[in-house]
Amino acid sequence: MRTSLFLQFLINGIALGSLYALIAIGYTIIYGVVGLINMAHGEFFMAAAFLTMWGVMTYNLPWYVSFPIATIITVLLALLVDRVAYKPLRKMKTSSFIAAISVSFLLQNLFIVVFTPRSKPFPHPALFDEVILFGDIALPVVNIAIVIVSTILFLILSFIVTKTDIGRAMRAISKDLEASQLMGVNPNKVIAFAFILSTAFAAVGAFMYCSKFPYVDPFTGAIPGLKAFIGAVIGGIGSIPGAMVGGFLLGLGEIMLVAFFPTLTSYRDVFTYLILILFLLFRPGGIFNVKVREEKV
């Protein structure tokens, strides 16, 4: 393979990996704090992208107005879902998982019923369509933007988690719920904050993802959501660096598999699932070997 082609694949892989990492963080934060696999996370992702598109199409808002509004609506939606569907089932793991699946289908089909299942072009900044040429390496601007935006977000996240009180409270809860309550941490506040944080990350991820693959429909969230979830499990669900690394490696690995073994492209998802299964069977804590918080089912 020519070096320039390889570099192009590499940058593409880094961009996709950063996107998966952004979304995977959402799964891992919620799992760490609430102990719930939030299957509706992909649908929050879709809702953010869809509402951004809708604001631009219907009300002729510019994207930089529509996107923040869509993000706020999606965050409120996530808080509502948590209050209505997840909170009453906090201690019941199986039931809350079933609730999460039904919320996921509910949102997906709500968008189908309200907005029709047709896929629509996503209004992204015109700058993202351009390609910069370095010699014979073609660099799409959108990939560079993805890498920059996600790096900034990772830095913000690590600041929040390590340097602020709410971040410390989040980490405390994911280590030991009862002890942190005894130390005066209000779990409801922290859980609400976790949902705000994870949904906001999903919204930014959705904006970048839909700029890279510029169409949006009610099923947009399903595949990146699932891949990011697998990334979070591979990294060690519950651990934030784990989600970053897992999501990143999964995206990079996907692109590299296609680059080096083009004949195996259709087996890509099989490999993804096999890696997931192997990790769960032999190292359920993921790359970072996260200790699961023991809870009564």
């Binding site: 039904s102 289908f105 997906q108 019923v113 099989v270 069977l281």
Partner: protein
């Protein structure tokens, strides 16, 4: 179970089964094909839900592998019953490889083999997966289910890839499905009421306590999972016969969630509940399908609303899991004693459902 009324109960059960079989023979010739199809689908859903109850409701292992396992059964039966000529026509991506290209079996042996192969795959999946707990178990089983589906997509020489199989001969009728349903319910009921069943319930309640009492956790979980897989395979085989056309998208995880919905609706620990719930699901599914399709009433064209069916089901599942987790029947079962005590009111309500499980 063991009381004086047992001979009477048995007579009642056998009589009602005979009556049901007579009804199915009558229905096969007198009802229209749409109604027969609905009854058939009900029967298949019963088998799926009852086998899910066994692993989820009674053993407490939340497995999401149902769709993938049903796919194994469906493809096995379809490939065995399709004639070699029909296969040559439909396999236009790549010709089928040797044993598949020539084999053609009668229906019942292929259905049985479908069940056995599915049980074997269930064994292969369960052996590693059932060592895990909770979230990890459900992710792994979901992963296996998807791997099965994706492998089917990628094997054009065995199962025609994403094109699926068409023109599967319809060898079933209502009576066959009814008999299989009766066998399934009977076997699962007997298993659940046996000492094995008590061990399974013990595992569900507390694994550590069960192990301390000498229950071999892994062996019992495997038993439940393999038996459940066998019946899912049978259900899948019947499914392929009723549908006539299968492709990998038929067996997306949505099928599993539909089974979960039915199990929760009926009450995860009640076979009776599963039977009722699968009937409700079948009818609701058809009614909402009608709403989704566009139609013309009094020259006004009413556009169909796509997605409404799934919206209704997901809303129903959410409401059930939030407000009515025990479903229609909870852990109660239908029993003749209960019916008898209803009719003979002068008797005190002393025996209300002798098969009610202590929960």
């Amino acid at each position: 179970m063991k009381n004086k009324k047992k001979p009477l109960n048995m007579i009642l059960s056998i009589t009602s089964i005979i009556l049901l079989i007579l009804f199915s023979l009558w229905a096969q010739n007198h009802l229209d094909s749409y109604q027969i199809r609905l009854l058939n689908m009900w029967g298949i859903y019963i088998i799926m839900v009852v086998s899910f109850n066994l692993i989820f409701g009674f053993t407490g292992q939340f497995s999401l592998a149902h769709a993938g396992l049903a796919a194994i059964g469906a493809y096995t039966v379809a490939l065995l019953t399709l004639s070699p000529e029909a296969k040559l026509i439909s396999f236009f991506i790549e010709p089928p490889i040797w044993p598949i290209s020539t084999v053609q079996w009668p229906f019942l042996p292929s259905l049985l083999l479908g069940g056995v192969i599915t049980a074997f795959i269930g064994y292969l999946i369960g052996a590693p997966a059932l060592r895990l707990h909770g979230d990890y178990l459900l992710i792994v089983t979901l992963g296996f289910s998807e791997v099965i589906r994706l492998v089917l997509v990628n094997l054009p020489m065995i199962c025609n890839g994403a094109m699926g199989l068409k023109g599967i001969p319809d060898n079933t009728n209502l009576t066959v499905i009814l008999i299989i349903v009766v066998i399934t319910v009977f076997v699962v009921k007997r298993l659940v009421d046996s000492s094995y069943g008590r061990a399974l319930k013990c595992i569900r309640e507390d694994e550590i306590a069960a192990e301390a009492m000498g229950v071999n956790l892994f062996r019992h979980k495997m038993l439940a999972f393999v038996v459940s897989s066998f019946f899912v395979g049978i259900a899948g085989g019947l499914f392929s016969n009723i549908l006539g056309t299968i492709d990998p998208t038929t067996f997306k995880p949505y099928l599993t969630y539909a089974v979960v919905t039915m199990a929760v609706l009926g009450g995860a620990e009640s076979l009776t509940g599963g039977i009722i719930a699968s009937g409700v699901y079948t009818i609701m599914s058809e009614l909402l399908r009608a709403v989704e399709a566009p139609r013309v009433i009094f020259n006004i064209e009413i556009p169909g609303i796509p997605g409404l069916r799934m919206l209704a089901f997901s809303a129903m599942l959410l409401i059930l899991i939030l407000f009515a987790r025990s479903g229609i029947m909870g852990s109660k079962e239908f029993s003749w004693d209960w019916i008898i005590s209803r009719f003979t009111k002068n008797q005190k309500k002393s025996k209300k459902g002798d098969t009610v499980e202590p929960s």
